[in-house]
Symmetry: C2
Subunit: 454 residues, 2 copies
């Protein structure tokens, strides 16, 4: 058996700044538009929802943004996270490729999400905020914000899509263990929720409805803000701590990636590992390939349109230019719940449009097979989302085997699968199937896009 | 908010030896007896079940036993594990005590169990063994052996108590994800299982039956051995890597514990953190207090008898002198499944009998309350077993607050609660209750002890 090869950064070398890719974009992002006026939005428009410091980050083009001391203090509980060379997987595949993975499953909630949850809770506490509302589907984001709220003394209210609330009682218990309130959405606590219940008393909810409820609650109350777990610039910014660490750890390994791989739902874990390397390239550094892996049943980057769209189904959020399947599109119920979003982060969409990152889509079953192959070699069962990155990595490693090339491939193992054993139970029991891409439903959803040409 | 204070040992300082407390016992352990003859057992008697290297460790009085290179290579995936100062919990309690915890939840299966699973799988592979059988109740041990088997190319067969097999499909999926075979016990794969099924077709199984099935299967086949996850000397030995690391980390903190706390089921995680410190004391080092915390509904150390008893209900195992509630006693179904064992490790029983460690028992509900208090301060939800150690730590910290003493208290956070959210769901939903200690059932079980006076 081959050695474990682990690269651990000393705590003293944990990043002091996040990296803002807006500073290095060859073409700036399209502006965010107000949902009512379709004119570029101002910082003031966002103040009812977010603290000033977060809005500033959302709009900033400053390259290095300081990580506040109290955020670093919490990060230090699990950061710097380890980076491994997957020597046992290399051996199992018989590939000449050098495979590396950054492991974010060491956080208390088992994924990368606390990197931004902790930062957002800190800025809100600094702004005197007592309550934060949010939505959650699979529950990974809600759990992370619940944790961050407990640490910063902020009450967290999570609107959880009703069907998940019923099917995932453990995720609810996890959030409640940290003192968060978890409400099945649609609920009678908001006008948006009551309207849905009046029309459809047995509604099982959707992420779109849950966002509407969380936003409504936050907008109405003085001491209450809203938080989002992906998509927005500031969220992706907070995740860059992953790639900044990985860059140092690759240097410890005396290696440099030729290829960096991450899965993409809203885009935050992909951005986290890729942006620091891509930024180096944009400033004249080594050229690398960057592969964004998405589910074939929700192929935002590979089949979506790059256009202005809303972030929610109820059209309460600002309009952003992004790859979208249409905000009316409801992705099928595959198990990588964190990748079931109709849109994609504007920054990632923009980079894909510029040809700086390569999107790729995989089916569910081949991703689970890859995940189990990884688990049996490396000892960690990945989250279903992360299996997409594993699959692309194995494919690239096998391509190296065919060509005899020895590429260095780095991927983000953004979370473990401890809370996803139902998915593995179904897979192992032969009960999972691939979901066809709902081409006609997407066509209908895309026909409903607002007509904005900028 | 107070800083995270984490002590990380450099990989180069990961222990090279396990510590064998048999070398320093003031009075030697009572001999292990053959179940048939009641005479001291020989190494040869154990050869059908365990590899020679493991039997040697079981009987050794050598103080430092080298950890083989390939075992250290796997350990390095998550070891050295972190030791934290619980500053946020101290602050929440307002205690002058200095609270530290060693965190074993960073292993791939989320507990300390892989420390011995990896070692046992290695020694079996060296002995040319192709299959290992074992039993599991809650599933933590079975998961860890499944992981170790995957890494060393050994096929693992886990007899899982039928009621757990049905109630904990996720644990089964976890084991199967690593390629292990999981069989509901009683099963028709063994004579022992068939006998039970013939007499009680709807038997929900017990740990005792599962042990009989695993032992029978191992004894019958040339290339098959059996493995146990706690109780035996070699298992406790492998866990001492925890305490050896903790001792170095306490030195990094420029502190030394006055009090070391662990929960006790079979005894392995308690031994892991305590024995290295206790060994120092036995050789003339600093006097410390050692608290073994057990569930009040299965109070082996606090109410059991120190006598010869069998390890299983079917009386196939050797007889060891230990604190026992009687091998016929079936503990009630409280949620700390890892602490539901009628006996206690002979080494720990012996040390308790010598007055070198202090046992203490707590009820289930007060342990869950302590666990949630810990989670909200420190960000980690403990396993229900570990909550017993948390409860004792908080009690001792509050005692310090009353007395104004500033003791250094170290406890073993032996696992996280990610796979125990049903227990938290029940607790948060007000559905858990304390279990009365079944005094009369224990009296009946104790009456059935074999009459051996040594």
């Amino acid at each position: 058996m081959t050695d474990t090869v682990k690269f651990v950064l000393d705590e003293s070398r944990m990043p002091r700044h996040w990296y803002n890719i807006n500073a290095d974009l060859p073409v700036p992002l399209a502006p965010v538009l107000h949902p009512g006026t379709h004119q570029p939005i101002s910082a003031d428009d966002l103040l009812p929802l977010f603290p000033g410091a977060v809005i500033e980050q959302e709009m900033s083009t400053e390259r290095d943004i300081e990580i506040p001391g109290p955020v670093r203090d919490v990060y230090r509980q699990w950061r710097p996270s380890p980076l491994y060379r997957a020597r046992r997987l290399e051996q199992a595949l018989g590939t000449p490729a050098r495979l590396y993975y950054k492991y974010e499953g060491v956080s208390p909630t088992g994924s990368h999400k606390p990197n931004t949850a902790v930062a957002q809770a800190f800025y809100n506490r600094e702004a005197g905020i007592k309550h934060i509302t949010t939505e959650t589907g699979a529950g990974q984001w809600g759990s992370s914000l619940a944790l961050a709220g407990a640490l910063f003394g902020i009450e967290v209210v999570v609107y959880m899509v009703k069907v998940s609330f019923q099917q995932k009682p453990y995720r609810r218990a996890f959030m409640e263990s940290f003192g968060a309130e978890c409400i099945a959405s649609p609920s009678d606590t908001t006008a948006a929720g009551r309207a849905v219940l009046a029309a459809t008393p047995d509604s099982t909810g959707s992420l779109g409805i849950a966002i509407s409820e969380a936003v409504e609650m936050a907008a109405q109350r003085e001491d209450t803000h809203y938080a989002l777990g992906s998509v927005l610039n500031h969220v992706l910014l907070h995740q860059t701590v992953i790639g900044i660490e990985a860059r140092e750890q690759m240097a410890m390994a005396e290696d440099e990636p030729d290829l960096v791989i991450g899965c993409t739902g809203g885009g935050s874990n992909f951005a986290g590992i890729v942006f620091p390397f891509l930024g180096d390239q944009l400033r004249g550094g080594k050229r690398m390939e960057f592969i964004a892996v998405e589910p074939a049943a929700c192929p935002t980057l590979t089949k979506g349109r790059f256009a202005y769209d809303y972030g929610d189904t109820a059209h309460l959020t600002p309009l952003t230019k992004m790859h979208t399947l249409g905000s009316g599109f409801v992705p099928p119920g595959f198990h990588a719940g964190g990748l079931r979003y109709h849109g994609m982060a504007p920054q990632i969409s923009h980079l894909a449009d510029l040809g700086l990152i390569q999107p790729r889509a995989y089916e569910q079953l081949e991703c689970f097979a890859a995940g189990l192959q990884f688990a049996r070699a490396e000892g960690i069962i990945p989250a279903p989302e992360a299996n997409h990155a594993v699959k692309a990595t194995i494919d690239e490693a096998m391509r190296c085997k065919e060509s005899g090339q020895s590429k260095a491939i780095l991927f983000n193992l953004c979370g473990h699968g401890n809370f996803d054993m139902q998915a593995y139970t179904d897979y192992l029991g032969g009960k999972l199937k691939d979901h066809e891409y709902a081409e006609s439903e997407v066509a209908i959803a895309l026909a409903g896009l607002p007509s904005i040409t900028r």
